[in-house]
């Protein structure tokens, strides 16, 4: 058995190209003085939801899906960035934001993040142990926990970010019955398709990763978005070349 197969080499090559593009774009972004890139729609929707919930004095209900329960995918970890953004901006809000997770280790990470943020912000009444943690074990348990939290009167909006099963649309449907603004960003494309008609704002494709950028320093954000654009162009050229070679019968 060879040490590295062709697929492994290709994967390594893609990782190296991505790292190189990111480094180059970051370097170039530092010397640039003007930032004229718009954030993806989902990131802007998170921003406007935060503003509206602060005005209405309501709570933001977050759920980060079933975490690493189904597969050890990195995308579940990204939701913690969003939690950090939202908690920081709701320190002085009338109602503290609430975060639920459907898996043990991600729930503990979420609790630890909440605890550290409240402790560092020197907020006497926080951290609220009630507001972060496990909402149920597994995708269905998590959904059951979320369905219980949606009808609470203090909610102003709901954000579902992470690994969800398509049945999660039941929570979105319930939220729409209570006139809550909803933002969905599922890592699974079947769930993305199921959530799109139900949610007020829905992240499709790679917007899932961009929705956590709402209050990041603009240069770091634009560097990632521009690097992703460059890699996308390279992928398109690669796919086109492969298609031409296939048609020509080269492989």
């Amino acid at each position: 058995m060879p040490l590295l197969t062709m697929n492994d080499l290709l994967a390594l090559l893609i990782v190296l190209i991505a790292a190189l593009i990111l480094a180059l774009v970051t370097l170039f972004a530092r010397s640039s003085s003007r930032i004229d890139m718009r954030l993806p729609a989902s990131a802007m929707a998170v921003d406007s939801l935060l503003q509206r919930s602060a005005e209405s004095g309501g709570r933001i209900l977050m759920n980060f899906g079933s975490g690493f329960a189904q597969s050890a995918e990195l995308s579940s970890l990204v939701g913690l960035n969003l939690q950090r953004v939202i908690l920081r901006r709701s320190f002085n809000a009338d109602q503290p934001a609430m975060a639920g997770v459907g898996e043990g280790s991600l729930a503990l990470l979420s609790q630890q993040l909440s605890y550290t943020l409240y402790t560092n912000a020197l907020i006497p009444e926080g951290p609220h142990a009630e507001n972060t943690g496990l909402s149920g074990l597994g995708p269905m348990g998590n959904l059951a926990g979320l369905l219980n939290s949606v009808p609470e009167a203090k909610n102003a909006g709901m954000i579902m970010h992470g690994s969800f099963c398509p049945e999660g649309l039941l929570a979105l449907d319930l939220a729409s019955q209570f006139a809550l603004e909803t933002i969905s960003a599922a890592s699974d494309i079947t769930a993305q398709a199921a959530f799109w008609p139900m949610a007020s704002h829905s992240a499709l494709g790679e917007d899932y990763f961009a929705s956590v950028f709402s209050d990041r320093p603009a240069r770091s954000v634009t560097a990632v978005l521009k690097a992703a654009d460059w890699l996308r162009i390279l992928f398109c050229i690669g796919l086109l070349a492969a298609a031409i070679l296939k048609v020509m019968g080269e492989f």
């Binding site: 390594l12 970890l77 043990g104 990470l109 496990l134 074990l137 398509p166 993305q192 494709g205 899932y208």
Partner: protein
């Protein structure tokens, strides 16, 4: 010092996992230990998270809030399942049957409910999202590919039409692959940023 230590630790673990992925043949003797460690860590964190969940519901019962009944149902059903598992063992066929007999119908009914809600959402699509190019193309293509999925190509006697319709039914797959490539690129950049300590989702900074 602590954030820097966290970043270094996550980078080292990330590179170890990547090495394990690419150099499986070389690392086979060590991989079971790593896997056992991860399973132990996950199990311990799940137990702690469950304890937090139970405490939260017990506190709710103590306060007598509006959802007390639901909290009582959760605590009692968890207690029964937990004690049953300890007494009979999780491999006991009667115990497994007992748990599955409650869980499966519940999941099936949630699935059925989802199908109904999805059908209702499809009907209310234009009301919710407005009439625009995206909703119209979504509605038309969903309807068209639903018909194609029902194997209508067999209704046409012409083999050329059948071949054409079969090729057309692959179009959603192309779209799905496009989305997956996008997700892959997004995930790749996040992974590279976490690996180099630029992005620290686990950190407060």
């Amino acid at each position: 010092m602590k954030p820097r230590f966290n970043a270094i630790l996550s980078t080292v673990i990330g590179i170890t996992v990547l090495a394990g992925l690419f150099l499986q043949a070389k690392l086979i003797p060590f991989l079971p230990y790593l896997l056992d460690f991860v399973i132990l860590l996950t199990a311990a964190s799940t137990l702690i998270a469950i304890a937090f969940l139970l405490l939260r519901h017990l506190r709710r019962i103590g306060k007598g809030s509006s959802q007390t009944v639901l909290s009582i149902v959760l605590v009692v059903s968890f207690g029964l399942t937990f004690i049953g598992g300890l007494v009979f063992g999780v491999d006991n066929p009667d115990y497994s049957y007992w748990v599955a007999a409650i869980q499966r119908p519940l999941q099936a009914s949630l699935l059925g409910l989802s199908a109904l809600v999805m059908a209702a959402a499809a009907l209310k699509l234009f009301q919710r999202k407005g009439v625009n190019l995206l909703t119209i193309s979504f509605g038309l293509s969903a309807f068209f590919f639903l018909l194609l999925g029902m194997n209508i190509s067999h209704l046409f006697r012409s083999p050329q039409v059948e071949v054409w319709l079969t090729s057309l039914s692959q179009v959603p797959l192309i779209g799905a692959r496009g989305l997956l490539i996008g997700m892959g690129i997004g995930g790749l950049f996040i992974a590279v940023r976490i690996l180099f300590g630029i992005e620290r989702p686990y950190d407060e900074r």
